[in-house]
């Protein structure tokens, strides 16, 4: 049992928990995730780790309520418990001194991006971060990202804050207008955003790392539900990833596989709403 020691509501459907999990906090590295199960009837879902606090033995998980499990999760409060948390899972981000690193986060993807920005910065990189959201109200982690990046750029789809447009517009601007010699791009966000970022960087041969969030069950390489084609080879996101060379990822296949349980998800959400 893992206690929720703090709850923050960012926006109606975006919430963040601080959870007591000292062993996980001790081992967690940027880029890793956990698998949680709320209760006895619950399913196992992966969530990326947004923060950790070694002194207090806590980890922060940020999530958006999109399905039944995340809706159930959102109903929990400070003092409640999550039955199971397994982690840290996945291969940590490869951190080294690349030079100029552009870190791009879309939606709640900014949360797992934040520890990577910190680690990249500590390794001596010059980090330019681009964060984007649909609208100003659901932009998360602005202050944290500003404090850890050398430069922070913001975009909103509706122009309510920052540049009017997508994260890819800022990225293009960095490459084409400001002519910044980028050594590495790290992108975390909706699959379509990551796909578009890769499309921008590919002609310039800028190495681009993406972090995939696929369907998982065990999270230890046992079931293969998370498999994805990378460079024509089948890889498991849970153990080989979650980060891969974005130019090699078959995003269309991944997006298709993500949709496998949409019908069931709707049934579950309907029941959940009527509870």
């Amino acid at each position: 049992m893992y206690e929720i020691v703090e709850k923050k509501v960012w926006f109606n459907e975006i919430k963040e928990f601080k959870i007591k999990a000292p062993l996980i906090a001790e081992k967690q590295k940027a880029g890793q995730f956990v698998i949680i199960r709320i209760n006895e009837n619950g399913e196992r879902i992966p969530l990326t780790i947004a923060h950790k606090d070694l002194d207090n033995g806590t980890i922060n998980l940020l999530f958006q309520e999109v399905g039944k499990t995340t809706m159930d999760l959102g109903r929990l409060n400070k003092g409640d418990f999550i039955m199971d948390i397994s982690g840290p899972l996945g291969t940590p981000t490869h951190i080294e001194r690349y030079g100029i690193v552009v870190c791009i986060g879309g939606g709640i993807g900014v949360a797992p991006l934040h520890p990577i920005v910190r680690a990249m910065k500590s390794a001596g990189n010059n980090v330019i971060s681009i964060i984007g959201a649909r609208t100003k109200g659901i932009l998360i982690y602005e202050d944290l990202m500003r404090a850890t990046s050398n430069e922070l750029l913001i975009t909103t789809d509706d122009g309510s804050y920052g540049r009017h447009g997508f994260v890819t517009d800022e990225l293009k601007n960095l490459i084409d207008v400001r002519k910044i010699p980028i050594n590495l791009v790290v992108a975390i966000g909706p699959p379509i955003m990551m796909k578009m970022v890769c499309r921008v960087t590919e002609p310039y041969k800028i190495k681009t790392i993406v972090s995939l969030n696929t369907i998982m069950v065990d999270g230890t390489g046992m079931c293969g539900a998370c498999r994805v084609s990378v460079g024509g080879r089948t890889r498991f996101v849970c153990v080989d990833g979650p980060e891969f060379d974005g130019h090699q990822v078959d995003f269309d296949e991944m997006i298709q596989r993500q949709r496998q349980y949409l019908t069931e998800e709707k049934i579950a959400v309907e029941r959940c709403k009527h509870k």
Partner: protein, 486 residues
């Protein structure tokens, strides 16, 4: 509702020519038409009367081959004698001397290839139903017996870590705790039992039985740590250096799904048997939406493979509502490695067997979902290294089967998570951990032992259990020698 198994009818003609004999007693169970609509256990187990009758068939051989045939050497004639005498709890004690998981082994052991294969009675008629009797004794004890503290050695204070809570890990834990050691079992998933809970379906092995065995070990003092992925939250080295475990038993099993590497395997509707069964068994997706984990209720499902896992998969598909549930197997019926009883049960449940058939491509529709599978007919050629005749494709015999889903049950490899994070642990080319002898399970790393599927490759529950017991002896010895400074 009950239907007698077919064995009941067989000895009829023998009766006429020889002295009247007691035939092998059938084990009644759910009618196939009923059971394909639920996940309850199929056989009901022997009644007291049937068990007594069956026990009287044992001729108490002076040189009992059945004991030789048992991987853990249970004193089979003695426990059967106790049943005959009506002392079932004593029979349970006899079994438990060598097998700490009788309710499980009585259900999932391939007895026809072990004890029952060499049973002398079986030379002339059908062998004594040793497996069914074992199951009867275990179930009787669970119902009527009281918790009996076994003989426990004085506490040694020596810490032993067991990685994996499957049959190997549980068996080893049971032995080591009795030897007085401080035993902790680390499990990656949220429930203990390993393959017994994620792999084997409820209709073959009720999960309450596994829980009972785990509770028993917990009562003896074994500690269980769930959600603990060794290799991630702690490495083997950290367990030893930081956490003070003096010996480690790696029993993490064969947890790596194998795919065929044919086109179309990443289409929606293609699953590893591990995924399909884990959803259904561990996550109880067959109870969706009461349980949150979803599983698709496909109408036409093909399961590739001929082992017990394939049978479990295809019978699960049938129970989830498949009208057409196929087993596609590249060899013939005779070569199927599954237990006889599972194959018979599958046949009774209307599973369609497509033998000497090998998939070459999975076909998808425009939205990326499975719509069919292209197969090629096979014929048996010369025997291969396994001694079975090698299947060879018949040119030009390709054909398609319309299906919605494919479950790959062609075996499991070794999961590299533990070995790859333990630098000085030697593995073979398949990733199986190398040990000096299976009896001792000593790996290339001092204080680290291994056994079960992670050493042998995917095998049976009883073999893993046997390895767990043997290695417990070796670990005990290691700790004793270590204490005297060897």
């Amino acid at each position: 509702m009950t239907s007698p198994n077919e064995e009941e009818k067989r000895p009829e003609n023998e009766k006429k020519e020889k002295r009247p004999k007691i035939p092998r007693q059938p084990m009644h169970g759910q009618d196939p038409a009923v059971r394909i609509r639920n996940f309850d256990e199929v056989p009901y187990g022997y009644t007291d009367e049937l068990a007594k009758l069956e026990s009287s068939r044992c001729i108490q051989c002076k040189k009992p081959f059945c004991i030789e045939g048992c991987p853990v050497r249970i004193d089979i004639p003695l426990f059967i004698k106790k049943i005959k005498e009506g002392d079932i709890l004593e029979a349970a004690r006899v079994i438990k001397r060598d097998n700490c998981l009788p309710a499980i082994c009585g259900r999932v052991c391939p007895q026809e290839d072990q004890c029952e294969k060499v049973c002398i009675v079986g030379k002339k008629e059908e062998s004594v139903a040793i497996g069914r009797l074992e199951r009867y004794v275990a179930d009787y004890e669970a119902k009527h017996g009281r918790f009996e503290m076994p003989e426990m050695a004085p506490k040694t204070g020596r810490k032993v870590a067991i990685v994996g809570s499957g049959p190997g890990g549980l068996a080893c834990a049971g032995e080591l705790i009795k030897m007085g050691h401080d035993v902790t079992v680390f499990e990656a998933l949220h429930k203990p039992g390993g393959v017994l809970v994620y792999g084997i379906p409820e209709f073959r092995l009720p999960k309450a039985i596994v829980q009972r065995e785990v509770d028993y070990l917990a009562n003896l003092g074994v500690k269980f740590m769930m959600n603990f992925v060794v290799g991630k939250i702690r490495t083997v080295d950290e367990l030893m250096e930081k956490d003070g475990y003096e010996a480690i038993f790696l029993a993490n099993g064969a947890g790596l799904p194998i795919f065929m590497n044919i086109p179309g395997e990443n289409l929606n509707g293609v699953y590893s048997a591990n995924e399909y069964l884990t959803r259904s068994n561990l996550m109880k997706a067959y109870k969706f939406p009461d349980y949150d984990t979803p599983i698709k209720r496909w109408k036409n499902v093909a399961v590739i493979g001929g082992g017990n896992v394939a049978m479990d998969g295809v019978r699960t598909a049938r129970r989830l509502g498949a009208d057409n549930a196929y087993i596609i197997y590249r060899r013939s019926h005779n070569e199927m490695p599954a237990r006889k009883e599972e194959i018979e049960h599958a046949e009774e449940e209307g599973i369609q067997f497509r033998m000497l058939t090998n998939p070459i491509r999975i076909l998808g529709n425009k939205d990326g979902w499975v719509r069919g599978i292209e197969c090629i007919k096979m014929e048996l050629g010369e025997p291969d290294e396994s001694g079975r005749r090698r299947p060879v494709p018949i040119k030009g015999s390709e054909f398609e089967i319309e299906i919605d889903a494919v479950v790959m049950a062609i075996g499991s490899g070794s999961n590299p998570l533990v070995a790859s994070t333990t630098p000085d642990l030697k593995v073979n080319k398949w990733g199986n951990i190398i040990v000096d002898r299976e009896k001792t399970g000593r790996t290339s790393k001092k204080g680290v032992f291994a056994g079960g599927d992670i050493v042998t490759g995917a095998a049976t529950v009883i073999l893993a259990m046997g390895a767990g017991r043997n290695v417990a002896g070796a670990i005990n010895e290691y700790l004793v020698y270590k204490a005297i400074g060897w």
